[in-house]
């Protein structure tokens, strides 16, 4: 009898082990890729942030020297100020997407709703760099579309240097996203709205709530989870991003649109010096800044997830 029990337990264990191994086998590729392409570079970057490293033969441990140098560099602080500007602007410009998603959700005709959703998502398929280069030409002071349009309307006095004007360049870069309706964020908000219990709107209708009151009291509060998600994306993107500045202005004119991500990029790939260690230190600092800002932001948002 006891032998039968042992054999039966052994078979169950073996079956369980086989299942576990099979599951591990399916999950392993994803884990491997995540480790190789996400965690390893991250850890490697953190490790080399304490080195002077040219990516080749020079790899000298310098401790916190890179960080001290970064914090003493006025160019870095200029870039941080610019970054904070873009960050605040990006947070405020989350509103158009939020409002659009609410309006879209309220469209009663399902075909029209579907059509609008397609139209708003088409920009996703256009590579971002194409948009940036187009806007670079639009803003050209001599032959760009914007100044040419103003000239043809008899508004020559409104013509500007746009990207060439240090006081305007940041505003011009922000305007490149017009009308600031992000396709991915829109889909996330819509998904959130569609998951809400429809009885809430019935109750609101009975209470006589107007459209704005419904948005402020029902839809936005109940979408805090989605707002939190998009906010984290916006925060991370604003703190670490630099592709817009790199392509459109190169951080100029002067340092007017210089951001920390570009600062990191220049130190890694600048022709005078390729100090990947220093650039890694900048990357680590940006990561810490992004984490701190995200945590502070989350404290003020309560999710009902």
């Amino acid at each position: 009898m006891s032998t039968k029990v042992v054999v039966s337990s052994g078979k169950k264990l073996s079956k369980r082990l086989s299942s576990l191994l099979a599951a591990a086998g399916f999950v392993l590729p994803a884990i491997l890729f995540t480790y190789i392409f996400e965690y390893y570079p991250m850890v490697n970057g953190i490790f080399h942030s304490f080195y002077r490293w040219n990516g080749s033969n020079i790899e000298i441990f310098v401790g916190f020297e890179n960080f001290k140098e970064i914090l003493k560099d006025s160019v870095f602080w200029t870039s941080v100020r610019n970054m904070l500007f873009f960050l605040c602007a990006s947070i405020i410009l989350m509103l158009p997407t939020l409002v659009t998603s609410i309006i879209l959700f309220r469209i009663k005709n399902s075909r029209m709703q579907y059509l609008y959703r397609i139209v708003l998502c088409i920009p996703m398929i256009i590579p971002g760099i194409v948009v940036m280069l187009l806007w670079q030409f639009i803003y050209n002071p001599q032959f760009g579309l914007l100044n040419q349009l103003l000239s043809s309307l008899g508004l020559q006095h409104l013509q500007q240097l746009w990207l060439g004007d240090p006081s305007l360049v940041k505003w011009c870069l922000i305007f490149i996203g017009f009308p600031w309706v992000g396709s991915l964020a829109l889909l996330i908000y819509l998904a959130g709205l569609q998951n809400l219990d429809s009885s809430i709107w019935d109750a609101a209708a009975i209470d006589g709530a107007g459209p704005i009151q419904k948005a402020l009291s029902i839809e936005i509060p109940l979408m805090k989870g989605q707002i939190k998600l998009n906010l984290i994306n916006v925060l991370a993107g604003s703190v670490t991003g630099y592709s817009l500045q790199l392509i459109v202005t190169g951080g100029g004119p002067g340092f007017a649109s210089f951001v920390p991500g570009l600062y990191m990029y220049q130190h890694a790939f600048g022709s005078a010096s390729s100090d990947y260690g220093y650039a890694s230190a900048v990357g680590l600092l940006l990561f810490l800044i992004a984490i701190i800002i995200s945590l502070l932001s989350m404290k003020f948002i309560r999710s009902e997830d």
Binding site: V75, P166, G252
Partner: protein
């Protein structure tokens, strides 16, 4: 066996296969570039690197695929010249296929791509490089040292040593060797040889000149600014400028004529060698000999500021392509560009006629620091093609690549390429066409290479362009500008000087490597010229170390 027992096993097998398949597909594999097949070829091959090896034909029993990369695309001026030459080579050697990859240089895209390719060992077999990138990649050990290969006979030039076929011979490579830690030849010049004026000229719009009433072409800086003023008063933007390439050029060209030998004179005469040019500049800044208020660099800043008032508005935010568009659209009178775009303008300028004028002379009435001369070009090769150090792993392929470049630098090929591409040939004995003549050096190009003022602070700073943009647009005063340049340059050169003196990765290590190479050459009874080249490199390295020990011993390691 029951279903319930079969299924877990099946799942396990499927999982294992999936994992292995993903792992294999995720691993990069180097494709072999040669395969067995019969072909005919009669060209001679040469040896690699500093070590001597036998000469001989390129292997004919294998196919080779050579990847070369440049910023000369098919629409670019030199593109057709190179592509035609590659096609000729492939006709000559049917077992060789050359893939010419095009990567634009705008926004530093070319260098950024190479940075990542070298790190992952995916870089092409040969790549076009500028001086700065060539030095950088040589210091990072990504490029082959070519001294040995250059000493071998050229298969396409009557058996002369390859290096002697270049204009100026071996001496023309001394400046190219300067700056890299090995003091070695890092690049093979193919286009834009000695004789090319290192100072880029201006293309000008003849119709706009006529419209503004400009009848005489300016020769001096004063005349040039007077013409710009006249154009501006006529409502014409004088100059198509950009905040990137043009600014970089102007910072150098306004400095070149000023007080030759300004940095070299800070050191003992025996160290004033072209190979130590960059080291002298760095040590001068690191030790405070070159200060933040250097009058020569300050003067070049003033010249830029004076000139900047004639650049089109908003120049700081645009790149060279947009500036070129301005000129093509006939909106500006001047555009600074090299011979490589001559054919492009010929094909694309529709509504006006254009000409080329040399960069104006900065005379003593503008500044007493001016020598009224420009850097000599006649004796130094500039930039060229680097060869991937990974080629050492495939000696046969290396022979083919070297043979290709010997072909490109033969007199016949250089003549054809020069006519198509409009550039000064890099080898001696080639006639140049009329189109090329405006880009050729003249008697004013007389400042020796080791005495050129190369704006040390700007050169060594990380954000030099941005700082100059702020200066040239009037947003900062001179003291602030130079302090900023000095702060950045100082931080950078102190690291460079420390690295140069580092036992493991600096000049001491270089000396050990070069000594070992020399000993090996002697032991193998290599040719005298190879031994001499190795001895010269070793002596320069020793001189460099002595220089650092004498002048930079107090610079603390960072």
């Amino acid at each position: 066996m029951s279903q319930s027992r079969k299924f877990p096993v099946t799942r396990m097998v499927a999982a294992s296969i999936l994992t292995v398949a993903v792992a294999i597909s995720g691993c990069s594999t180097k494709k072999t570039d040669s395969s067995q097949s019969a072909a005919s070829s009669t060209a001679a091959a040469t040896s690699a690197s500093a070590a001597p090896s036998e000469t001989g034909s390129i292997p004919t029993n294998k196919n080779f695929k050579i990847k070369v990369m440049s910023w000369q695309g098919p629409q670019e001026q030199y593109g057709p010249a190179y592509n035609n030459a590659f096609a000729e080579y492939m006709k000559l050697h049917p077992n060789v296929k050359i893939e010419h990859l095009f990567q634009p240089n705008a926004n530093n895209g070319y260098a950024k791509l190479l940075d990542t390719q070298f790190v992952s060992h995916e870089a092409p077999d040969a790549m076009m490089l500028g001086n700065v990138e060539g030095t950088k990649y040589m210091d990072q050990d990504y490029l082959l040292q070519l001294d040995g290969a250059m000493q071998q006979p050229s298969a396409y030039n009557s058996g002369q040593a390859w290096i002697d076929t270049f204009k100026g011979g071996a001496k023309s490579f001394t400046s190219a060797k300067s700056g890299n830690k090995y003091g070695a030849i890092a690049m093979i010049p193919v286009d834009g040889g000695p004789g090319t004026n290192p100072v880029i000229p201006f293309y000008y719009n003849k119709d706009l000149f006529a419209k503004a009433g400009v009848t005489n072409l300016p020769k001096t800086w004063t005349e040039f600014l007077a013409v710009c003023k006249k154009l501006k008063e006529s409502g014409i933007d004088p100059v198509a400028a950009d905040g990137n390439r043009f600014l970089l050029w102007m910072s150098f060209f306004t400095a070149y004529p000023l007080e030759p030998g300004h940095v070299a004179k800070m050191f003992d005469e025996k160290y004033r060698k072209p190979e130590l040019k960059v080291d002298m500049r760095r040590v001068a800044i690191a030790t405070g000999k070159y200060t933040a208020d250097d009058p020569v660099e300050g003067t070049s800043l003033d010249l830029i500021k004076d000139f900047a008032q004639y650049w089109q508005q908003g120049w700081a935010a645009i790149n060279e392509d947009q500036a070129k568009q301005l000129f093509l659209l006939g909106k500006t009178a001047f555009y600074m560009d090299g011979s490589w775009d001559y054919s492009y303008f010929e094909q694309n300028v529709k509504n006006f006629s254009f000409g080329v004028i040399p960069f104006p002379t900065i005379t003593k009435d503008v500044t007493p620091l001016s020598s009224e001369a420009f850097p000599v070009s006649g004796d130094q090769q500039r930039a060229g093609w680097g060869l991937n150090k990974d080629l050492e792993k495939d000696p046969d392929k290396l022979k083919v690549v070297l043979d290709l470049f010997q072909f490109l630098t033969s007199k016949e090929t250089q003549k054809t390429m020069s006519d198509t591409g409009v550039f000064v040939p890099v080898v001696s004995g080639v006639d140049i066409s009329d189109k090329v003549k405006p880009f050729v050096a003249n008697e004013q190009n007389s400042i020796p290479a080791n005495q050129i003022n190369e704006v040390p602070l700007f050169n060594e700073s990380t954000d030099g362009k941005a700082i100059l943009q702020v200066w040239a647009t009037g947003q900062a005063d001179k003291k602030t500008t130079m302090s900023k340049l000095f702060e950045q340059a100082s931080a950078h050169v102190k690291k460079s000087v420390s690295d140069a003196m580092d036992e493991k990765s600096g000049v001491p290590n270089q000396i050990v490597t070069l000594q070992a190479t020399l000993d090996k050459l002697k032991a193998n009874h290599a040719a005298d010229n190879l031994i001499q080249a190795a001895e010269d490199s070793l002596n320069i390295a020793k001189l460099k170390l002595e220089f650092y020990q004498q002048y930079a011993g107090t610079v603390k390691q960072q």
